[in-house]
């Protein structure tokens, strides 16, 4: 047991300069995935509640395809598909795949949050003479955004972990580094323990920040 601690520690000490660099890549992937996913999610959520059958149809097709296929397939598809028509680094191919993937889940989060706002809020707003747009902008969206923060936070954590899958197209993020380390050093077990610890710490930091933000939002305004 102590022996294992020793070797894990030794692998950790030998690899941390590389891992720190790779952590930056992982965080960049996550950031692009989250921001792009949020933008896409917002657009498709609005399409879904638009009342237009065509827009709803497009959104439904997108969400069905993305949720119905594995992320790793989407990454490969984007990497080999897009690179055919537009030259793109593997980092961007991976990051965009993460964003497109996330967009479908985040669209559902936003849609649920918007539809979850008490209908009485809309009625009160309309009864005061506010039109549909004003009601959405000033009454429904601010409340929906607040409601969507906990599930969004959860989705961000999933994105952070899912970013490991882009190792398949050779992006130098932390999982690919661990994978290489495992093969080269003949210490696969220790290497994967080390990478697991990196993910764990990152997720814990994320979780803590999210909880702090949620608490700050909730003061007075539940």
């Amino acid at each position: 047991m102590f022996e294992l601690f020793g070797t894990v520690f030794e692998v950790f000490m030998r690899t941390y300069p590389g891992f720190l660099e790779a952590t930056v890549v992982t965080l960049q992937l996550t950031a692009v995935g989250v921001i792009l996913g949020t933008l896409i999610g917002l657009v498709f959520a609005l399409m879904k509640i638009s009342g237009s059958k065509i827009l709803q149809g497009i959104a439904n097709v997108y969400i069905t395809i993305i949720r119905g296929t594995p992320l790793i397939v989407q990454i490969m598809f984007l990497y080999f598909g897009i690179v055919e028509i537009y030259t793109m680094s593997n980092f961007w191919a991976g990051a965009i795949a993460l964003g497109v993937h996330n967009g479908a889940y985040i669209a559902e989060i936003f849609r649920g949050a918007i539809q979850g706002v008490d209908p009485g809020q809309r009625e009160a707003s309309m009864s005061l003479g506010m039109n549909r747009k004003q009601t959405m902008q000033r009454i429904v969206f601010p409340q929906a955004l607040r409601r969507s923060i906990p599930p969004l936070g959860n989705q961000f954590i999933i994105t952070l972990k899912d970013s490991s899958l882009v190792y398949i197209i050779g992006v130098a993020e932390i999982f690919s580094l661990a994978n290489r380390e495992a093969a080269q050093s003949f210490q696969p077990f220790e290497s994967f323990i080390v990478v697991a610890l990196y993910y764990l710490v990152l997720v814990m930091i994320f979780t803590y920040l999210l909880r702090w933000y949620e608490n700050r939002l909730d003061v007075d305004k539940t």
């Binding site: 008490d118 009485g120 009160a124 009864s127 005061l128 003479g129 506010m130 409340q143 007075d220």
Partner: protein, 240 residues
Amino acid sequence: MIIGENIHKSFGDLEVLKGVDLHVQPQEVVVLVGVSGSGKSTLLRCFNFLEMINEGSITIDGKKVDPKKDNLTKIRAEVGMVFQHFNLFPHKTVLENVIEAPITVKKMNKEKAKKLGLELLEKVGLSDKADVYPSKLSGGQKQRVAIARSLAMEPKVMLFDEPTSALDPELVGEVLQVMKQLAEEGMTMVVVTHEMKFAKEVADRIIMIDQGTIIESADPKTFFGNPQHERTRQFIQLVE
């Protein structure tokens, strides 16, 4: 002020209003009573176009409303509504709740709106709560804020949909007090309520709705003293 003629409203196969005629005079206080499911709340919501009628017509302040052509937003701005569950905006402070519509709809400047908002909060006895969020208020306080919020649009008529039904008994009085004061100031009001004491004291007319039609319409004294319809007699016995 409000003329409803031959109002029909159905939800799917269920016909809730079966040809209701109701004329509300300016400054009149009309109380609608009836057992739950009788259609009284639906009628109220039709007057504010939160529900669209299937047949008949509604005239507000001399203008016959065509829901297809007219700007309903503008009409709603002239008809205040107070809901059973208050429906205050939880992400806005009490004052922000009150001044939201004047600023957004009437484009009133912020300083003027604030002044108006504080006056209205004073009127409902809540000027000290201007900067707190609704979650910190009691039910009675929330409803008084909701009334102030409606008044901020200077409506020509106020609709109250069971304004005290969601309140603890000890908080009912403060809301009725505000409503009574409004009535005394000459506000035209249509009130759906189970508060018979309020109806007796404040109403000019009490209307009994049963199964989607008006079966009794009389001043409070006649309504309680000499009801014409058997169902009204039963109802009065139940509530008293």
